[in-house]
Amino acid sequence: MKTICLYFEIHQIMHLKRYRFFDVGADHYYYNDYANDVTLTDMVQRSYMPALQTLLQLCENNNKQFKVAFSISGVTLEQLEIYASEVIVILQKLNKTGCVEFIAEPYSHGLSSLANEKCFVEEVKRQSKKIKELFGKKPTILRNSSLLYSDEIGEMVNKMGFKAVLTEGAKQILGWKSPHYLYHCATAPKLKLLLRDYKLSDDICLRFNNNSWSEFPLTASKYTDWLSSLPEGENVINIFMELQAIGVMQPLDSNILEFFKALPQEAAQRGIRFATPSEIVKENDSVAPLEVPYPLTWNDEERDTSSWLGNDLQREAFNKLYSVAERVYMCNDRRIKMDWDYLQGSANFRFMNTKSSAENMNRGIYESAYDAFTNYMNIIADFTKRVDALYPEGIENDELNALLTTIRNQDDEIKILETKLGNALAALEHFNQPEDKEAAKKDAAVAKNEMETKEKKVATKKNKKTASKKSKKKGSVVENKKAKPTD
């Protein structure tokens, strides 16, 4: 039985502000709040709300036969929380219908999977956690930024315990094979692959309103006719697109909503059903392994990473950014972690695209690829300065990690000792008699001595580190001391 797997990406670019080199070291705020507010609000009004309302109707009215999947990047969730919380409310309503699946993706919509496994794992987990908080269910399927996938990424994803990945059904990988089956990762056979049918997906999201297209106008019955005429056995039809395809890429007056409204009935008449990605994985067996030695995406004609990492400028920016990945991973500074998410956004690299096909692309505030590069590199210069200021540069990352672990362990030890001290003091008060008091006092003194020597040890070890770090650490010890008695 033919099954449509409908999936929408919800992600909005985080616009950076004009950042000149003389701002480096002076200004640590990198974002154009106005542009972010305006573009997101506009997107919500023109596309997200009408699209999601229609999808909600479809989920409610079709006896749970209509299914749909979403993935929302963490940064966009943050933006939605600030500027358009109604989108989250309607997503929660959709979630309640039981016809919706939420899919995991990297928090930043960035390229960490190509650079640093630790960061990638961390941000996927963070996004999954956020999805669980908002929608009550932990995702079991992953899709990487712009469907980025390769064998290597497949292994990482498999290790994280995901059941399947969504990716592009690109010709250079499939060759004669059809995307209408379930495949699995060549190096991690447990991980299933759902391949986007780019022809059928683009028919909706790119060509729907194009009146010079030979198939214009596209109706739901025509579309489902195509699906039902697919060869026997080709059962999995993956239609993946951005949610902004409804309303922005295809304006609402093109009747795109009517197309979607008619789709479930037309499909039902032809015996075609809908399913979420995890249902597809459960119901179908993989037909073959798929080897993907080079990364694959849904970008451009090339369907590779060339729109992000195609020229020297992009690769330089990418390398500079991820050169501090380890340190950012180790640190606890909230602002730096936040900037890290926003700076990773893949659009930052796409703006530096110099391919001839990108000549007329919308580069946001940037006039050219060089302008985008200059602005981004200035920001990275400031950002790396801040990251470097956290820990002394001379120490190797491994050594630093070891030191940080020692400090953490000692913190734990101090806590234990403090509990002991607290107990002793309690005992002292409890035996509020002169002779006992002295005994208790002795106890307390012993415990205190023990703790002080420990603290000294910690202090000597910490001498290796910067003064600022030391004061910060001591601050936390003091905090611990204060916190304890009230416990």
Partner: protein, 424 residues
């Protein structure tokens, strides 16, 4: 096809971009086998490259009949001149010009430069053009820049052949809007009489259409190109100090070129970094003001004025630069960034330059946006990836812009003009 061209400069003795453009353009056109170019200049020096065209010196063309013998003519005409041409031209003197000061051969003396009595030279040039136009055989007339428009009009009236004029600059570019009425008059008259107007950029084309009120249908854009580097120029070594970057401005230090924006951007860059030097090569009426400005900004220790550069010196300074900046306020075309890119130097140009229309592998800013300019300078100096990219891709891009292609496009315009001229 035979073309009679009127120009003012021709290498190797040139004063500005006009000479370079005239050379490249004619050389490019001469690649077409049936193209026969006769190029008139006020004062040839005898060492011009005549391998691909014929040069007529206006100072060797008689306008007053003198009875002189062959040997005398041969002796007094100067290097590279043909005495027979002198006699042929003498047969076509068409009026009594004894009131004009001529030498013993009956020729007018030209300075070949831009002297104070420029209007007189322009007038004399067009009188001499009358003789040339009567004596020569040609299909079309092509006048370069306003100095030769009157000559072109004269030739057209004498011969009845169509006139194409080539606008290398307008007075609106040179004066930032304070147009000289006499110059405007000459320019407008030339355009009004022209059958076709070629402009070196769309920017200039719009000026011609809007300020000189020309019919857009007869105005076309004919971007300049750049000649490949000569082997001796290629041999000049690139000298780079690894610790210091050099940012160069090269051109006349006049209002049109926007030198003050370069100084201001330099001041901004030097506020943050110390390992960059700025060079402003050239001379002009704003030189002293710029020296004062650099001193006032406190950057004189890192800002240098080596003076006017010529010939090989230009390439020596380009080749040791890391960034080339052309912040022109209004530049009809601006060939120098192309030359910089040929020398592997990343360039920053203003949107107000005609060459910005055909260059993509360089950084463009508005001339007044000193923040963007400073940022771009800093970026090229600090981020090796950008430097490398612009250096390599810029070279590739500019190498693909050839005069030969321009020559083919000009040929096409000629044919269209001729067709239209004789059918209407």
């Amino acid at each position: 096809m035979k073309v009679l061209m009127f120009g003012w400069e021709f290498p190797p003795h040139i004063l500005g971009g006009l000479g370079t453009a005239s050379y490249g353009l004619t050389k490019g056109m001469s690649q077409q086998e049936d193209m026969d170019i006769t190029f008139c200049i006020p004062k040839p020096w005898g060492d011009e490259d005549q391998s691909f065209l014929k040069i007529i010196g206006m100072n060797r063309t008689p306008i007053v009949w003198k009875d002189v013998d062959y040997n005398y003519v041969k002796e007094h005409l100067g290097d590279g001149a043909d005495p027979q041409l002198y006699y042929n031209q003498r047969d076509h003197i068409y009026g009594d010009f004894r009131h004009i000061h001529t030498n013993d051969l009956g020729c007018v003396e030209f300075s070949g430069k831009y002297p104070d009595n420029l209007y007189e030279e322009i007038n004399n040039y067009s009188i001499v053009a009358g003789v040339v136009a009567r004596q020569q055989n040609y299909d079309i007339i092509h006048s370069h820049d306003w100095l030769t428009y009157p000559a072109g009009i004269h030739a057209k009236q004498v011969s009845g052949k169509p006139l194409v004029i080539h606008v290398h600059a307008t007075d609106f570019d040179r004066s930032r809007g304070n147009v000289n009425p006499t110059v405007y008059g000459i320019e407008k008259n030339g355009m009004d009489h022209a059958d076709h107007i070629m402009c070196v950029s769309e920017l200039t084309r719009q000026t011609v259409i809007n300020k000189y009120h020309q019919d857009p249908r007869k105005v076309s854009t004919m971007h300049n190109a750049v000649s490949p580097l000569a082997p001796e120029v290629q041999a000049i070594p690139e000298v780079h100090d690894p610790k210091e970057k050099v940012v160069t401005f090269l051109g006349r230090i006049t209002m049109q070129k926007g030198p003050e924006y370069f100084v201001e951007a330099a001041a901004m860059v030097l506020k943050r970094t110390k390992n960059i030097r700025f060079v402003m090569a050239g001379s002009g009426d704003m030189l002293d003001e710029m020296i004062r400005l650099a001193a006032a900004r406190g950057i004189a220790d890192r800002f240098h004025f080596p003076g006017f550069m010529k010939g090989k010196q230009v390439y020596e300074i380009l080749k040791s630069s890391d960034v080339y900046v052309m912040p022109s306020v209004s530049e009809p075309f601006g060939i120098s960034p192309l030359e910089a890119m040929q020398c592997n130097v990343p360039s920053i140009i203003s949107y107000q330059s005609g060459c910005a229309e055909i260059l993509n592998k360089c950084i463009k800013t508005n001339y007044w946006d000193i923040h963007a300019m400073a940022d771009s300078i800093y970026s090229i100096c600090s981020y090796p990836a950008l430097y490398k990219y612009l250096r390599e891709e810029g070279k590739k891009e500019v190498d693909a812009i050839t005069w030969e292609d321009v020559g083919l496009r000009i040929r096409k315009r000629y044919e269209e003009t001729l067709k239209y001229y004789y059918n209407n």
